[in-house]
Symmetry: C2
Subunit: 459 residues, 2 copies
């Protein structure tokens, strides 16, 4: 029995284990889930030991712990792959929009529904099971493997960079593999070669120093709720472009060749509108939907609040208004510099009767990885075998700051092997993972490690 | 001992009773306080009986109950005064900004701090104690008195109009007296002769039909949070005027004489800025602060919410955004027509990728009462005796729709005898009532009833 046969024979057990993982509400953003975070880390560590890793441990950080494991079974001449994933998940709110409990994984048809199903527990667990299958059938691994699973990806990976710097020697590898992206369709695999950066900030607008009666003061006091709306309205121009002066100065223009590549990405507009649940698209004039969502920078409010939000009416003119906003950035935009440009612009457009405070929540750099390397070729062949179709090279709109971090600190490229689907509802109610992709993902990783080993030319 | 002496002798007990009233959390907007509403109504009814009312009862409505009482002690030849007040209060939120519990009345210096202290429990209770003092010392009352205390003023008085229509015969009176306004300063009494109307609505903006990941869809989907902000930003022009087409069409222009009167209202800009807690005023060009807050129509957001509002960042592009907004209206604006003008304008400025729903929360008509009448003259002399200073005639920015309702259904004018102060923080944390005004209020009402009786010419 080879590793592929093993994976197929144990498919149901693998799914059951994934459901066990999904049942742990490891919400990194919410302090009440601190113990669940520990529980998820220890559960994952136990599964690495069961898979055969001779060394696996839960390591503390000033925030949530990191799970670290290594298995140098293939010997010093073989390549070493650093597997990265995250066991933390987004908050499940709004809870009333879930058809089944976010932490009660439920299989409907070929999908498992749960918070974290695709982002990223399901995709991270693919590696654990691929390695188990390789080890159980080959007695060893075709390549050396190191695993780094963090618990703070959804809150900005604040403690990851110091951790990686401190353990740089232990983590030294030839290439990294990360599965935290999606393919283009059930039978349309892809490999992501570029990711956007991100800058998340919170705005606090203050008008009067206490809440006022709107019937007594309305009309003579600048209302911070209306004021915040006027400020936000000026963050885009009428053509959907971000209106912050200097925002586009360092954006690397799309070369005609790359635009042609992006134009070849299979894209079904009607299906996209259906997945997004909108009647029409919107955005920066002069760019396609694929370009706008992957290769152009954006700005979106993620939350807004202030004043009375309960039942009925309350005629208050509140003291404060708040918003959270995030910007997706492309090469060569620097997240810290973009935040400063935003800060200057806000200072300029905030009227004198209001004060505005900007708090930086988290910053992540984007990344573009080499489109031609042994690892990318191994991934390409692995997908072709597991999916029966060669993958497309694409850009991804989301941000996986760890890719830039791995490049910067460990000096290696990352192969982004996604197994999600575009309609997995990441960060939304009713997140799901398509179980055939879980199985094909395991097979892809098995092939990837075998091809990487075969392709390796000892130095 | 006359009624004034009696009121002075019993001052401390009156304050203790008021505190008992304030301890009942009668928040009409919040369903969990349903029983507290009943409790407050029955408490008040009991105090009317103790004051001497031969008939006082709690009457059901489809919402919160009405307290009704009558004492026709002065006989059919004497005038009848209808006293209106409300025993419900605004929600106390945000709770963490209260220095002492909103329902733990606390006397600091000469003020009592509690939700409802001034709006309207303290001011309504003035009448109960004035009547007790008159009855206890005179054996009867100088005028006939009917009391109507409702429990839904803060949520739009939805069931009051049908109630008043149904009991119109029982409520028939010569004049109404309402104390739900403020005077201009501790020693600057005033009588309000005009009130603004109100229209409160809730907006719900929908973009995608489910929450999306902003990294995957941002830049190609019209974000309803940003969209709501752009819509709200267009509700005023750059000069602070409401931008809804037709909004000002029926506004009765301020006559030069009335502007001159309003210009004579004692107004200390520095003190006003301090009370509002702002560094500068804002608003419609061409009008003074007094005019903008009392004689001109306004539009204010009262609340806004949508997306992720918890700790940290969540890169969501939400499906929905909400806002509550209220408009203060002046004669001859019709609240229902103004809501329709807003609805049309919103339909026009909502972009095609978003949908907007407008829900009307409540409407109230404004009122202007005759500046020259026996009742207004009686009130004028009563203030002069209790405060040692003649009152100023002013317009009020707030809305007391019951004044229009009483005019429409019962055909009588209302004398607005306020005893609050401008810095009472109505609807805000740390609402208070100035206790010397509670005592002077009781004396004013005693004088008012005596003067009204003396001035009355039997038909």
């Amino acid at each position: 029995m080879d590793a592929i046969d093993y994976a197929r024979a144990h498919r149901q057990r693998f799914v059951d284990e994934l459901c066990e993982f999904l049942r742990i509400p490891s919400v990194s953003a919410q302090p009440e889930h601190r113990e669940d975070m520990e529980r998820a880390a220890h559960w994952l560590c136990g599964k690495l030991v069961s898979a055969g890793f001779p060394s696996a441990r839960v390591m503390p950080t000033p925030g949530h712990p990191v799970v670290l494991a290594e298995w140098l079974a293939a010997g010093p001449a073989a390549p070493t792959v650093l597997v990265y994933g995250h066991y933390d998940v987004q908050p499940p709110e709004p809870l009333d929009e879930w058809r089944t409990g976010p932490f009660e994984p439920t299989v409907v048809g070929q999908d498992v529904f749960a918070r974290g199903a695709a982002d990223d527990k399901g995709q991270a667990y693919v590696y654990v099971k691929a390695i188990e299958a390789l080890a159980a059938t080959g007695g060893t691994l075709p390549v050396n493997v190191k695993c780094l699973f963090e618990g703070e990806e959804e809150i900005g990976s604040q403690h990851l960079e110091p951790f990686v710097r401190e353990h740089a020697a232990e983590l030294a590898s030839d290439v990294a593999a990360v599965s935290d992206t999606h393919i283009l369709g059930k039978d349309v695999p892809c490999i992501v070669y570029a990711l956007r950066g991100i800058a998340c900030v919170e705005l606090e607008v203050t008008g009067p120093d206490h809440d006022l009666h709107s019937g007594i003061y309305g009309g003579a006091v600048n209302n911070p709720l209306n004021g915040l709306c006027r400020i936000v309205a000026r963050l885009h121009d009428e053509q959907g472009r971000v209106a912050i002066p200097g925002f586009y100065d360092r954006v690397r223009p799309l070369e005609p060749e790359e635009r042609a590549d992006l134009g070849r990405v299979p894209f079904d507009r009607a299906a996209w509108l259906g997945e997004a649940g909108v009647s029409a698209d919107w955005g920066e004039a002069g760019y396609s939907i694929v370009e706008r969502t992957t290769a152009r920078p954006t700005l979106d409010l993620n939350g807004i609040w202030g004043g009375y939000t309960g039942v009925g009416a309350k005629t208050v003119l509140p003291s404060k208004a708040f918003a959270k906003l995030s910007m997706r950035l492309v090469a060569d935009q620097d997240p810290a510099q973009i935040v400063e440009l935003l800060r200057s612009y806000l200072a300029q457009i905030t009227p004198p009767e209001l004060s505005l405070e900007l708090r930086s929540l988290h910053l992540g750099e984007g990344a573009v990885v080499a489109r031609d390397s042994a690892a990318l070729r191994a991934a390409d062949r692995a997908y072709a075998r597991a999916f029966g179709k060669a993958p497309v090279l694409v850009r991804e709109g989301g941000s996986i700051p760890v890719v830039a971090l791995i490049k910067k600190v460990l000096g290696i490229d990352t192969v982004l092997m996604g197994f999600g689907l575009p309609d997995d509802r990441l960060h939304s109610p009713n997140e799901k993972f398509h179980l055939p992709n879980f199985s094909r993902g395991i097979e892809t990783v098995i092939h990837f490690m075998n091809h990487l080993s075969a392709a390796h030319e000892p130095a």
